[in-house]
């Protein structure tokens, strides 16, 4: 058997890993590429602000949506962002439960990515409701109208699923940060930083009793987050599958959505991890082994997604329903055919390169493949949302959806928001879990002696 390459440089010590990771936050000099990156991302946030402000003034008519295509970019983007978040939870929770040690150096920023992706996702349903100032009507609360939300609707299940997911992801992330915040408190200089980190660390002192309860809480949270993450995208898929629209009303949707979510999420983790490790010199922490493993997960989930496409086609052909037949034909050859074939190229054909080790361990190639998969998964949601709605049962009610500049501005604006939050996170909090790296180092030392 091949000896497995080390997940961490064995020459490192507890002090050196602590100093290296915390120096990214505590160093006084802000790198120029960080400032440029933040400036670029933040200008997209300004675009988002303009788009949303204009939307609040004029209403959803500024978008390309209409009847029959009432769900346009907003829902496409919502599903895409939520899906991206799923890889973070998978890495932090499911890989923890499976004792996959390689998760250690990527879990922190993957969790941050989850949190920021969910924040971007949450914007879309809220601004799509038309009267966003009444969005709180989605929640059950005692009100003078004596009304309740419709508990039997998948759209309301979605409200509960996504808000629970956002809350649990935030808790998981924060709990994971507490010991590292204590490290920053003890190492930060100046007057303000130690106080802020100190308050956030809540007086963590590394007591053995505390560690014991901490690990219990962390494992339990992982155990709770694992089924949660599966439930969230399942419920998102029910938004579609519980309706009677051709192309939506199918039982393959939940598993296929969950696999697609993990697929796009890992693609996003790679899109972020590859530049991050290059610019901050983290090759000793995010090793080629990590990159290779993530590429393998991407290949596996990509194949599940491809299988989903195949079964969808088969069931469409086999069920003998003329509306379903037409839907499939329309997807492949109708007005949106370029998007469909681009989706197949991005999600099914190009990722087959990941079978080769050479591509899985080449950061440049992998970075490009991961971006292609991100685009492919966005197109998949666009195809599902738009092609099913634009031509359903009644040909007299067919229509076309063409996104406007406001649709595009809002979408790219959320990408800016996502990147802005990530840039701030990289600057102010440790991107790699310091205490888990120390623990990993201790385990590797034990294994070698």
């Amino acid at each position: 058997m091949q000896a497995h390459p080390p997940l961490i440089d064995p020459k490192q010590t507890y002090a050196s890993v602590t100093d290296k990771i915390s120096s990214m936050v505590l160093t006084r000099r802000t790198p120029l590429y960080w400032i440029l990156g933040l400036a670029l991302s933040f200008s997209l946030v300004l675009v988002l602000t303009v788009c949303v402000t204009y939307l609040f003034i004029k209403g959803v008519g500024i978008w390309g949506i209409n009847i029959p295509i009432a769900w346009g970019f907003a829902i496409t983007n919502f599903v895409w962002w939520i899906g991206i978040g799923h890889a973070g939870t998978l890495i932090s929770a499911i890989l923890l439960l499976l004792h996959q040690k390689w998760r250690t150096s990527i879990n922190r920023f993957a969790e941050a990515m989850t949190l920021f992706a969910v924040s971007c996702a949450g914007i879309f349903p809220l601004i799509h409701v038309g009267r966003p100032w009444l969005a709180y009507w989605l929640f059950p609360y005692p009100n003078t109208m004596a009304l309740w939300p419709q508990f039997r609707s998948p759209l309301l299940w979605d409200v509960f699923a996504v808000s629970t997911y956002a809350t649990v992801s935030a808790l998981f992330w924060y709990v994971g940060l507490i010991p590292d915040l204590a490290t920053l408190r003890d190492r930060a200089e100046g007057k303000v930083a130690p106080v802020i980190y100190g308050m956030l660390a809540m007086g963590w002192r590394g007591s053995a009793r505390h560690w014991h309860r901490y690990e219990t809480a962390y494992t339990l949270l992982a155990g709770l987050a694992a089924p949660l993450v599966v439930s969230v995208h399942t419920i998102v898929s029910w938004d579609f599958a519980v309706s009677l629209v051709p192309g939506w009303h199918t039982t393959i949707f939940p598993p296929y959505f969950v696999a697609g979510a993990v697929y796009s999420g890992f693609a996003m983790v790679l899109t972020l991890a590859i530049p991050l490790r290059k610019f901050y010199g983290l090759e000793g922490y995010i090793t080629d082994k990590h990159i290779d493993n993530m590429a393998k997960v991407m290949l596996a989930t990509g194949l599940i997604v491809a299988y989903g496409y195949l079964i969808e086609m088969f069931v469409n052909w086999y069920n003998g329903n003329v509306f379903e037949h037409y839907m499939l034909l329309n997807r492949m050859t109708g007005p949106y055919w370029p998007a469909y074939w681009a989706l197949i190229t991005c999600n099914v054909i190009i990722p087959q390169l990941l079978w080769f080790r050479r591509f899985r361990t080449h950061p440049g190639v992998l970075f490009i493949i991961s971006i292609i998969i991100n685009i492919g998964m966005w197109l998949e949601r666009f195809i599902i949302v738009v092609t099913s709605l634009h031509r359903d049962y009644l040909p007299s009610s067919w229509g076309m959806y063409i996104p406007t500049r406001w649709d595009l501005g809002t979408f790219f604006g959320t990408i800016g928001l996502f990147l802005t939050l990530l840039f701030l996170f990289i600057r102010f909090l440790p991107v790699i879990s310091i205490f888990e790296t120390r623990e990993l180092l201790s385990e590797e030392k034990d294994a070698n002696t």
Binding site: P140, T164, V168, L171, A182, S207, A208, L221
Partner: protein
């Protein structure tokens, strides 16, 4: 009571193994009021401090059950008692469609209890604690491993405990200022 003049004595070690061994010998000497501090969780260290009941899993279970019952109860109350709507003769208590929200509420409450319960049982937030008065203690979040025997322990004696700790080959032994 010596508690008025000192919180306890703290010994610093340079490896997790040394801290674990020191904690075991301190326990064997009969010390009970003590705590060990380390920059990461060390397997067996909690047990070395003596038997201890961890209430957290039970609390999380109760939290989850409570959350699930609340979630289902809310939907049942809204649809059966408070605002029943007859839609095509379907049952008011259409429980299968209440399951997703029940599930989400179970997870939400259990996760909330796991985090708040962990903090509460650990007595956090507690911004100041006597151990922070030792200057070297800031290494407890980097590469230092510490054992603190508290003055409240009936066997505590400033001189005897100090020589005992020094026999364990620590990096240093420090006196911890009281509250």
């Amino acid at each position: 009571m010596t508690a008025a003049t000192t919180y306890g004595l703290m010994a610093e070690f340079d490896s997790p193994e040394a801290l674990l061994a020191a904690t075991r010998s301190a326990y064997a000497e009969g010390f009970r009021r003590m705590d060990a501090y380390s920059p990461f969780a060390i397997e067996g260290l909690d047990d070395a401090l003596g038997p201890h009941r961890n209430w957290l899993p039970l609390l999380v279970l109760l939290g989850g059950i409570g959350g699930g019952l609340t979630g289902f109860g809310m939907q049942w109350f809204a649809n059966v008692v408070h605002y029943p709507l007859n839609i095509g003769g379907r049952p008011f208590n259409s429980w299968p469609s209440f399951i997703p929200i029940t599930f989400e509420m179970t997870i939400l409450a259990a996760a909330g209890v796991a985090v708040l319960g962990m903090l509460a049982l650990n007595g956090l937030p507690m911004p100041y604690h006597p151990v922070f008065s030792v200057p070297r203690f800031e290494l407890a979040s980097r590469q230092g491993f510490f054992l603190c025997i508290e003055a409240e322990d009936p066997k505590f004696d400033l001189q005897k405990t100090r020589s005992l700790l020094e026999a364990l080959k620590p990096v240093g032994v420090y006196e911890v200022a009281p509250w």
